[in-house]
């Protein structure tokens, strides 16, 4: 059984509890001065990687957990968070301010990282809560020619490099099995991410954080989609409150819903 070398991609996004506002120029969402944090699904990826090591779930053991993020200077913050949660190292693919990778470009960055880090398991979030694309993990698996298990709610390791993953699908759950190397994307039910403790946050500051550019990876910025405009969704006008159940039934009939 191979020892696991886990690559954990993490993304810095607007905090899930913040209600995003479209900017005045209608070119995107206002990000200046807005609280950012690690994409919640990526926290699950980091947590799962660390648990695999702590609970000794993989017969071959865990040799390395490397967190990686592509983004502006501040993306280093989420890498430090990942290291405070238990990742061994970080790789920061530095982008210019305002530059963003589309999922295909991100998958190409990760393909290169997998080669350089000799990773045999990549655990990604199932989607990032900003773009909501839900593509990067599947694209990476396609580019590498590796098996994939998306929306994982349980991951088990067996003999002979086999990994059994329970996936959340429409209407229930599905279980698939594949061999390392592979790509897994996490769903909410997979685990409950830990909070980084203060001593661990301090320790994380000493862990290695490698900075690279797209050019170092032999890649360049490649945007296939042009955002023509970003608008607020049509506002729903909240209706009236009714006094009692009779009023509710009457109002629903009036609205044609009953």
């Amino acid at each position: 059984m191979s020892a696991l070398r886990i690559l954990v991609p993490v993304k810095r996004v607007i905090d899930y509890a913040v209600k995003p506002r479209v900017n005045k120029a209608m070119t995107g969402v206002e990000t200046a001065g807005v609280k950012h944090s690690m994409n919640p699904f990526d926290e699950l990826s980091v947590e799962e990687s660390v648990r695999i090591r702590e609970k000794k779930r993989a017969p071959g053991g865990v040799e390395d957990i490397c967190a990686i993020s592509a983004g502006p200077a501040k993306a280093a913050d989420v890498l430090r968070t990942a290291m405070a949660m238990g990742a061994d190292r970080g790789v920061h693919v530095e982008l210019r301010d305002g530059e963003e990778l589309e999922p295909l470009a991100a998958a190409k960055v990760l393909r290169e990282a997998v080669r350089r880090q000799r990773s045999n398991l990549v655990i990604l979030g199932k989607q990032s809560i900003d773009d909501d694309a839900a593509q990067t993990g599947q694209m990476l698996a396609g580019l590498l020619g590796w098996p994939q298990a998306t929306q994982a709610s349980a991951v088990e390791f067996g003999e002979g490099d086999t990994v059994t993953v329970t996936k959340e699908v429409d209407g229930g759950a599905e279980t698939v099995r594949a061999k390392l190397p592979m790509v897994i994307t996490t769903d909410l039910r997979l685990n409950e991410p830990r909070y980084a403790s203060l001593p661990n946050i301090m320790k994380a500051k000493k862990k290695k954080l490698e900075k690279v550019s797209l050019a170092d990876y032999g890649l360049q910025s490649d945007s296939r989609l042009k955002v023509l405009k970003v608008t607020e969704p049509p506002a729903r006008k909240g209706g009236d409150k009714v006094e009692d159940v009779g009023g509710l039934v009457a109002k629903l009939k009036e609205l044609g819903a009953l």
Binding site: Q138, M139, A149, A173, R224, L225
Partner: protein, 348 residues
């Protein structure tokens, strides 16, 4: 039609009228080259009717439309899909290796058939199947997929919600092949009619299966399917326990002929099954009536239901955010109000 779609169409319409003389001949020349492959889903040889939404989207694009279906025994499903009007061809591949839609061998299969057919657009639903498969195909074709679209403005311009539906982005693709997944609630599924598409066997590259399907556990229910139900009743943390959830929500659902949904809080607390979750990370629904019971209305939940035609809310907290989007709200104890409501609906 839903607000986002209606607005986008209206916007496109007004622009097209202004620019009509210059654009029309070019648009026509392009549309002759446009050809779409709709990827259809099946289970045990039965066509997933919801996946026919891909044809609806394909028709909005114009151009020729083909459908694709693969699995262990798909000829009946292919024949059914062939009855959808306006579809020219259904390509089928019958091989048990594709029955479970494993992306590792299904993606190469689809890519071979896409290359053979020379399609400009590949469309599938943004379902568990489409989400797992389509990005892998896009990567193999070196194209940037456009996910979960709610409207089509032109052959290269699409509208999709981002940030849990808090913003709507209009994006233009420069890729020669557009891989698109669609939000089912924004494109009503075509129904098989009197069409007579040619049914043709596709190429089968017989790619190696890198993964193996082990088992599945599907929640059984006699109630309507959550994603396509006309009415949905959804319960939240306010239900307090699984017993209460079942005692309160199930009779309510049955009185309305509705599907049952749940908030993440209810699912996490074990009141309801995961597959019932409505929201950014669960199902997106847009029924005629959405009834939120004991749900506060966090943005992640609203992302999954705010395109519903009529939203009704019952909550004891008069300041709950759900009331800001609800067409009609009732402030009160759900343990009293819901059974009373259920009784009134039943007797009327």
């Amino acid at each position: 039609m839903f607000p986002a779609v209606r607005r986008a169409v209206a916007w496109h319409g007004s622009r097209a009228i202004g620019a009509a003389p210059a654009l029309s001949s070019r648009a026509f020349a392009k549309s002759r080259l446009l050809s779409t492959l709709a990827v259809l889903e099946q289970r045990d040889g039965k066509l997933n009717a919801g996946s026919l939404s891909a044809f609806t989207a394909a028709k909005k694009l114009g151009g020729t439309i083909h459908g694709f279906i693969a699995g262990g025994s798909v000829s009946a499903a292919a024949q059914e899909a062939a009855k959808v009007e306006g579809v020219e061809k259904i390509i089928f591949v019958e091989n048990a290796a594709y029955e479970k839609g494993l992306p590792e061998n299904y993606a190469p299969l689809l890519v071979e058939n896409i290359k053979k057919g020379g399609y400009t657009h590949i469309i599938s639903g943004h379902t568990a199947f489409g989400k797992s498969l389509m990005p892998r195909i896009a990567a193999l074709l070196d194209t940037q997929q456009i996910s979960d679209i709610t409207a089509i403005e032109s052959e290269s311009t699409f509208v999709r919600p981002i940030y849990a539906g808090n913003a709507i982005a209009t994006v233009e693709s420069s890729d020669s092949v557009k891989v698109v997944t669609i939000r089912g609630t924004a494109f009503a599924a075509e129904t098989p009619g009197s069409g007579s598409a040619v049914i043709d066997e596709g190429v089968d590259p017989k790619a190696e299966a890198l993964s193996e399907w082990v088992s599945e556990e599907l929640a059984k229910s006699d109630r309507p399917d959550l994603a396509t139900a006309k009415r949905v009743v959804s319960g939240g943390r306010g239900l307090k326990s699984k017993e209460d959830f079942d005692n309160i929500m199930l009779p309510l659902a049955d009185s309305l002929g509705a599907a049952v949904g749940a908030s993440r809080a209810a699912v996490d607390s074990g009141y309801a099954d995961n597959s019932l979750q409505v929201g950014q990370t669960g199902k997106v629904v847009a029924p005629e009536l959405y009834m939120a019971v004991g749900i506060s209305g966090a943005i992640q939940h609203l992302a999954g239901m705010k395109d519903s035609k009529v939203i009704a809310a019952i909550n004891k907290d008069a300041d709950a955010p759900i009331f800001q989007v609800a067409d009609v709200g009732l402030v009160g104890d759900l343990f009293e109000k819901v059974p009373e409501f259920t009784e009134k609906v039943r007797s009327s």
